[in-house]
Symmetry: C3
Subunit: 267 residues, 3 copies
Amino acid sequence: MIMPPGPIITLTTDFGDADGYVGAVKGVILAICPQANIVDIAHHIAPHDIIQAAMALAAAAGYFPPGTVHAAVVDPTVGTDRRRIVALTEKAFFVGPDNGIFGLVFRDQAPARIFSVENMQFALKGTATTFDGRDVFAPVAAYLANGLDPAEIGPEIENPVPLAWPDNVIGADGILGAVVTTDRFGNLISSIHYRDLPEGCASFVVSIKDRRVPGPVVSYYQDAGQTAGEGYYALFGSSGYLEIACPGGSAEKQLSARRGDIVEVRW
Amino acid sequence: MIMPPGPIITLTTDFGDADGYVGAVKGVILAICPQANIVDIAHHIAPHDIIQAAMALAAAAGYFPPGTVHAAVVDPTVGTDRRRIVALTEKAFFVGPDNGIFGLVFRDQAPARIFSVENMQFALKGTATTFDGRDVFAPVAAYLANGLDPAEIGPEIENPVPLAWPDNVIGADGILGAVVTTDRFGNLISSIHYRDLPEGCASFVVSIKDRRVPGPVVSYYQDAGQTAGEGYYALFGSSGYLEIACPGGSAEKQLSARRGDIVEVRW
Amino acid sequence: MIMPPGPIITLTTDFGDADGYVGAVKGVILAICPQANIVDIAHHIAPHDIIQAAMALAAAAGYFPPGTVHAAVVDPTVGTDRRRIVALTEKAFFVGPDNGIFGLVFRDQAPARIFSVENMQFALKGTATTFDGRDVFAPVAAYLANGLDPAEIGPEIENPVPLAWPDNVIGADGILGAVVTTDRFGNLISSIHYRDLPEGCASFVVSIKDRRVPGPVVSYYQDAGQTAGEGYYALFGSSGYLEIACPGGSAEKQLSARRGDIVEVRW
């Protein structure tokens, strides 16, 4: 009960749970770092959906103990010359493709240093070009968990690729944003964070697709007395983003809404 | 190989595997109890489906070593004043909302004491109201794994909310029950347990939706000689409930059956 | 950080993530071998799909450290008299039904000895017949991880059931194979391995369903400059099999292709 636990390596991917890709990544890690405590954050990210992966990682990473290594691999252009990076924040290590996947988590914990993975002695030998999750990111994460100095992995860089996140338009009396993803419950999660509102702003109106959301903002998804599936309303979700939800049902279905639909807050 | 392993915390949720919710729960647990051995029981419980969660937990919990902490979070009314509970049986701890989710496992291991989680010093600080899995149940599970006395968490209660399970009608010559869930293989699992039948009762007729299931009860899903997808029959599944199955196919599809459809046993 | 880690047991099943079946397996393992490091390879294998399970296991098993115990359970005829086996290669142990599920991994690491599981003292006591994953394979895997000599489990056998894998037709100027599975990204994976081609063969034409795949073979799924979802092409995937893929889209959908469709290579 009081032994020192192994180092933590988390995984966030779009590999699913049917093809053995996640298993291969875990095998590589355990062969290099047998003490690793491998923790799944998410593997059913929609294929190639970098925004969804960035949100899942940002929803979870901040809760892990200091020193955790987070590997995130949604990597549609694997095999091309896109960069691979290792980032070091004051709290954690991040390993993955340089495509914006760390764009949200870097808002919460700014990277102190970012390195381009170029020293291929830390990669698996082989001819495969399409599975850097297994061949590059897994071994690099495992060596970092073993104590490798990230500076040995390659040259430092300063300009990671930003996340393709909608630019909110913030005005004097409101904010224009957009739906960025839908969670498993059909909640429509917008790009508008409670920190984007004026401090103390308690009274405002929310619209989605030009339909006014009945107010005020609530603090639960469903009250025991509500009829499941009827109506919709707004709330700030567990990561701080404004959401449109339907009690016991799916706001996504009820509003036929999807990524990119306009969400507006007006005060 | 002979080190003392860390304490086990299992997770049963409807959080899925794409939004980072499970990852956040795991991070919170590991920050409080780094030695925890976190074991996923199920995360693709249908959203808000307390019955399915209760069945998954009951199918698994009894097999874990003594002292395991089971956190189960299907919690549609999170954020309202529904209670949160910690239950202590002779074998394990259970942590989750007071909505019936432990109703089946309590049939196998009766709770010796149940506490209402009211001492919020064990919760995460923050303003979120919609994610008690992360903010309350995860830290409470982790502190229990660290050895916290459950009596410190809040006052003892005696009347946990029962599970919304169909009431079987047991007569002199038969039982009326219902389909309670369908598993991944399309097997229709009923509310009728083999313990509900008279002892030694070996000859009986099963019906579903007023259609007689060809008998007798069998002991396998598919024999190598059967044509996949043809016919259906009854058996007692691995948790002891009467099921209707189709060899190599889905009884759910073949019979267009679903939760609530009547299942009858007559002897 | 330098403690000796527990033994590794991997799981590959078609149990999904909603019914508690995987949880029961894990509980049984941990009750027998508390030090086990249980690693999920895949649980969303399509129900009864032995070929997909064989591919997932073969894609991952070779990367694990020596001594790993791999339990693989896709077992449509559980409860009948089909055999259960334990195989020992120079690198690992394999536990599961004798139905071909180990057919691909045995190409990479030939089994030195195979035993039929017949000594039921290592099984759970009970009356269930339909869940050998929980009642037989999980305890046997856990005892093996504890150091049990596989010869104690039952008699040695020599003729495991082969995998139902398409027989490639290899001629002087080409190979006829077939689509064996589709991965999560819609990539059509064929039965043709790069080892099946003549050594040094660099120029060849690929066809699927009598449609010529534009050549040459590429080394990435999508270049940043390509339009997502347009066109298709061939490449050798991360396990060495020839695949037909669509940049940023699904070749399965674009070509309306599925398992069994003919894939041809001609040089």
